[in-house]
């Protein structure tokens, strides 16, 4: 109570506990990534492949029941250089967060880019996943430590535009 006397205010933090449920489709994705596999789901109408899947195509509003096995390779759709340290984040800034578009999918997800000088990172750059050791795999996208350049020729960003079937 000493500190209370010294201040004319006190902090009262609110916390609530939840049992988070990922949903059927995302649960399938998480189960698969625990085995080192990347699973997407395809829209039966427009053909778009979503990864991680949410169980629906937000374009057509229909369930995406078809599962697609994806490779752990893709390209950088967009990226940002992070200079501000994030509390609790073990990575020292500056580092790069990038939107990764896996081959055969039509939506990107956020991940890290490492093993390359920052100034060399560019949109369209080909990348591949760097996995944690297999005995550390859990039901998490963090099984992939980061992505690194694969050395393949760049992709023309225009070719990433989605053409519905």
């Amino acid at each position: 109570m000493d500190s209370f006397k010294e201040k004319d205010y006190f902090e009262s933090l609110i916390s609530l506990d939840y049992t988070y449920t990922a949903g059927a489709a995302t649960s399938r994705f998480l189960e698969a990534i625990a085995e080192g596999k990347l699973i997407g789901q395809q829209c039966p109408k427009c053909g778009a492949v979503y990864v991680p899947p949410r169980g629906s195509c937000p374009r057509d509003g229909v369930p995406t029941s078809e599962e697609v096995l994806l490779r752990d390779k893709g390209c950088i759709e967009s990226f940002t250089v992070v200079h501000i340290p994030i509390p609790g984040n073990p990575i020292e800034p500056p580092f790069v967060s990038a939107m990764i578009r896996l081959d055969g999918s039509h939506i990107s997800f956020l991940h890290l880019i490492q093993e390359v000088p920052l100034e060399n990172i560019r949109i369209g750059m080909r990348v591949q996943a760097v996995w944690k050791p297999e005995d550390e795999w859990t039901t998490s996208l963090e099984n992939i430590k980061w992505f690194k350049p694969s050395g393949e020729p760049d992709v023309n960003p225009e070719s990433l535009r989605f053409n519905p079937k």
């Binding site: 049992t19 990922a22 949903g23 229909v62 369930p63």
Partner: protein, 351 residues
């Protein structure tokens, strides 16, 4: 004035725990159902509006995730209320009235099973003087029930009557949770959650989603829809400060009845958004009806999907008007603690 009517309603079967189903998996079936019942496509919908509360999922922007259930290409006009979806219907009604849209799709969804609902609802209270004391949702309802008991405006026998009526009426509605009709002895002997409320007096924890479509008269003709007209609709809110309220009354409802010039005696039946047995008694008294005639669907005591139960009151009123030989119905939705914020909608069928 432009006439606007309800043309479709779909409700998921309410579950006490929808398990791993996420919001998209709850919403999509009711949206598809209501579109198919009305023979409409998402392209025919001018305005889409939802009601939900991110605190229920415990995830920021969970309402945006919910939109994944809706066809959004070609691009749609869309909005959201962090309230019961009855207010999403109210917003949609105003949009149609103002000529901005002709047909609107409204949906509400909620999963109360992942968190502690009673605590979550505390966070809607005044953050300076009330919320830090952590009165939970049932404590506050009990405060209201006690005020009524002490003022001689409520008997436990009446609360028991409301509990039995809900369980009895719910038998006609396959989407409700299974309800036990207790004997008076069982009821009086059951454990208090917060005196005088027992588990029988409180709406059960529920997961689900519901959807409604409303349309202007012109759109009803164009798409050959059979409407139940929204004859009158309005909402009013009581003070956020408990000290300014008389909890033995629901002033906004009494005032709305006057403001909307509602002739309650001429209304065939009433569906209310009453989450505790004493709330049913309170509404029955204000509306001057015998308790068993309130909530023919069973009402929230038989299944209470947060952020959808008010929309469900409107949906059930529509459904009963459409299926039975009745002419008019009153639907009630509420928000905030102890029936603080109230919406009334008077519906009328062609007959």
């Amino acid at each position: 004035m432009k006439r606007i009517g309800l043309v479709g309603y779909a409700q998921n079967r309410i579950k006490s725990d929808a398990g791993s189903a996420n919001e998209v998996e709850l919403i999509m079936p009711v949206v598809h159902q209501v579109l198919s019942d009305t023979n409409l496509k998402q392209e025919d919908i001018d305005f889409t509006c939802s009601g939900s509360c991110d605190y229920l999922q415990g995830a920021a922007f969970a309402f945006v995730e919910g939109l994944n259930a809706i066809q959004t290409y070609p691009p749609i006009k869309e909005s959201h209320v962090e309230m019961d979806a009855a207010w999403a219907l109210y917003e949609s009604y105003l949009r149609i009235l103002s000529g901005e849209a002709e047909i609107a799709l409204i949906y509400g969804f909620g999963k109360s099973s992942p968190g502690n609902l009673d605590q979550i609802m505390t966070l809607q209270l005044d953050p300076y003087y009330v919320a830090p004391l952590w009165p939970d949702r049932v404590n506050l309802a009990a405060l209201q029930a006690n005020s009524m008991l002490q003022a001689g405006k409520l008997l436990r026998e009446e609360m028991f009557e409301a509990v039995c009526a809900a369980a009895q009426n719910a038998k006609t509605n396959p989407n409700t949770l299974n309800m036990i009709v207790p004997t008076l002895e069982e009821y009086l002997a059951s454990e208090m959650i917060s005196s005088p409320l027992t588990k029988f007096d409180c709406a059960p924890i529920s997961d689900g989603a519901s959807a409604i479509i409303i349309a202007s008269e012109a759109a009803c003709k164009k798409f050959d829809l059979e409407p139940v007209w929204i004859e009158k609709i309005g909402h009013q809110v009581d003070s956020g400060n408990f000290g300014f309220r008389d909890l033995t009354l629901v002033k906004p409802v009494s005032e709305l009845i006057k403001k909307l010039s509602l002739d309650i005696q001429k209304i065939d039946f009433i569906e209310t958004h009453t989450q505790f047995s004493h709330e049913v008694v309170l509404m029955a008294k204000i509306l001057n009806r015998p308790i068993p005639q309130i909530n023919l669907s069973g009402g929230p005591l038989a299944g209470n999907v947060m952020m959808a139960a008010g929309l469900d009151a409107i949906g059930h009123a529509y459904k009963i008007l459409r299926d039975k030989n009745s002419v008019s119905a009153l639907a009630h939705a509420s928000s905030g603690p102890c029936l603080q914020h109230n919406l009334l909608a008077c519906l009328r069928s062609h007959r």
